[in-house]
């Protein structure tokens, strides 16, 4: 495998708040993820999974520790440099849907391409293709308010994959879906991982879903409790 991991966390801590109300959500995370891996992150609620995903997604900076993305020291980047990194290399599926209200599915999906400055025709084509992949092509013109929870979740996934990111971060992408849809989404993620070589890090509570991953990382109380590379996690 690639000697340089795609993502490398060393001694990461993240403390929310100051003084008496300070709360340490991450207490020293060491984690390396190679390009092409499909990682499932599991753990009890409040164990710091979303916090870790935000750090991986360059949305947040660690309180201490080092984060390298393709060898770049992310904690030394400024706001704009991190934004550019997110724009070029990362796809993020949020725990909430975080779609723009009163904005059609198609417009939501093409938004990252718009910020990349892609021409209209390519933007439309790519956004439609992404919606097609999540099985929502015929819903392209609907706004989030007109879509079911599961459909909104799929629009969010389409938005995350439309840019062909190097790293796809998905915080409970199947949290709002029935098991039929969940399996479809997992197959989509596996396909993206296998065919396009997109590295996937996915938070899930369901062992069924984690089973699709090639590696499983367990969080407990802001620490990595278990890191198993078997096909079956539980």
């Amino acid at each position: 495998m690639n000697p340089e991991p795609l993502v490398e966390l060393r001694g990461i801590t993240r403390t929310y708040g100051h003084g008496d109300v300070a709360f340490q959500a991450l207490r020293g995370i060491d984690l390396a993820i190679a390009a092409g891996e499909f990682v499932a992150v599991m753990g009890p609620s409040g164990s710091g999974k979303s916090t870790a995903m935000n750090l991986l997604g360059c949305l947040d900076t660690p309180s201490s520790g080092a984060y390298r993305f393709r060898g770049i020291a992310v904690e030394q980047l400024d706001r704009n440099q991190r934004a550019l990194l997110r724009r070029r290399c990362l796809g993020f599926v949020f725990q909430g849907f975080n779609l723009l209200a009163r904005t059609t599915a198609l417009e939501n999906v093409e938004l990252p391409l718009l910020y990349r400055g892609e021409p209209v025709a390519e933007r439309h084509a790519a956004a439609r293709a992404a919606l097609q992949r999540v099985g929502l092509a015929e819903r392209a013109g609907h706004t989030p308010a007109e879509l079911s929870g599961g459909q909104q979740q799929r629009v969010a996934i389409a938005r995350a994959i439309v840019t062909n990111p190097l790293l796809l971060l998905a915080d409970e992408p199947t949290g709002n879906l029935d098991s039929q849809r969940s399996h479809e989404i997992m197959e989509l993620l596996v396909a993206l991982n296998r065919e396009q070589g997109i590295t996937v890090v996915m938070v899930t509570h369901e062992p069924d879903m984690a089973a699709y991953a090639s590696r499983c990382v367990h969080f407990v109380d802001g620490r990595v409790d278990r890191d198993s590379r078997q096909t079956s996690c539980s």
């Binding site: 724009r87 723009l100 400055g117």
Partner: protein
Amino acid sequence: MLLNALLLALREIRRNLLRSFLTVLGIVIGVAAVITMVTLGNGATRMVAEQISSLGSNLLMVMPGQRLGPGRDSAGAPKFRIGDVEAIRQQVGGLQAVAPQVGSAVTLVAGTQNWSSTVNGTSNEYFTAGNWTLAAGRRFSDDEEQAGKAVCIIGQTVRKELFGSASPLGNSIRVKSFSCEVIGLLAGKGQGGMGQDQDDTVLMPLNTVQRRLTGSLDIGGILVSMRDDADTATVVGQLRGLLRERRKLAANADDNFNVMDTKQIAETLSGTIGTMTALLGAVAAVSLLVGGIGIMNIMLVSVTERTREIGIRLAIGALEQEVLLQFLIEAVVLSAFGGLVGIALALLACLGLATLMGMPFLFNPGINLTAFAFSAAIGVVFGYFPARRAARLDPIEALRHE
């Protein structure tokens, strides 16, 4: 990047039509108010200037009695006589014309029509002094003036009321007990500086009016028209000296007549209107400012409302300056649009009001440009602060925002 931001801004405006409309309303009203006030003010100033100049430039009006104002006493003051007019003509330098005036309110009858108007007894010099021209017919002959013949020259309003659109020349009008022949028709002048109808007048020779209408040798007032090169102060000085002498006033006595300078009246009047215009313009400018604050307010509220949206944009890779630019463009587009609508509204209002008040409509590109630039500037200034606040949000914080 600019194009993208423009696209995003336009999308947002379209998506939130009601909010956009409310934002724009303040600017529309402010801009429209400023432009309307200033344009109407300019029109009023121009109108007064035109009316005063239609009176005749460099005109002095000499009236018996003390100068206008509280405690004015004209009743006791001796009137002028034709001798005063002659003396002024001969002894005061720099004059163009000196015309006596005797007014008398009468009812005019011609055929079945009748009309109440004012007869003005005067001389041919009145044409020069009063800046009148004839539309048809002729002036008084020397014989008619001296003998006090029953002839008259009528204004446009009188013609319209008595003869309609027919030519009045050669017809006769009955005034009180005598009948007089119409020998001339004055060219129209329109409304006077005090709002009166200047064309509602009938001119007769001084002698005719004195003998047949007023029955006295008194003269109501004297119109004195100066030459263009004459110095007003010198002429007024000479005039006063002469009249004081003729009226045998003691050195320490007040004048029992007054000399009004139309130029001075015009200046005072335009000055007053200018002050009013400035005042109204200032009030309107305040309303424009309030409109701008309204924009800022709505932008601020919308930023709060849109915090999640901003978080999403930042999270998927929008740069701070891209979000900033989007909000700025939204604000500028809204206020520029508001400015344009305001200008359109103002032009409509000005046209309507100017027609209603019988004033000239003067399109003033300066104030339109200023108001437009100001509304756009309000957009930039008031759009900038909320936009900066939005763009500086931490994406995680913004996403958590409920």
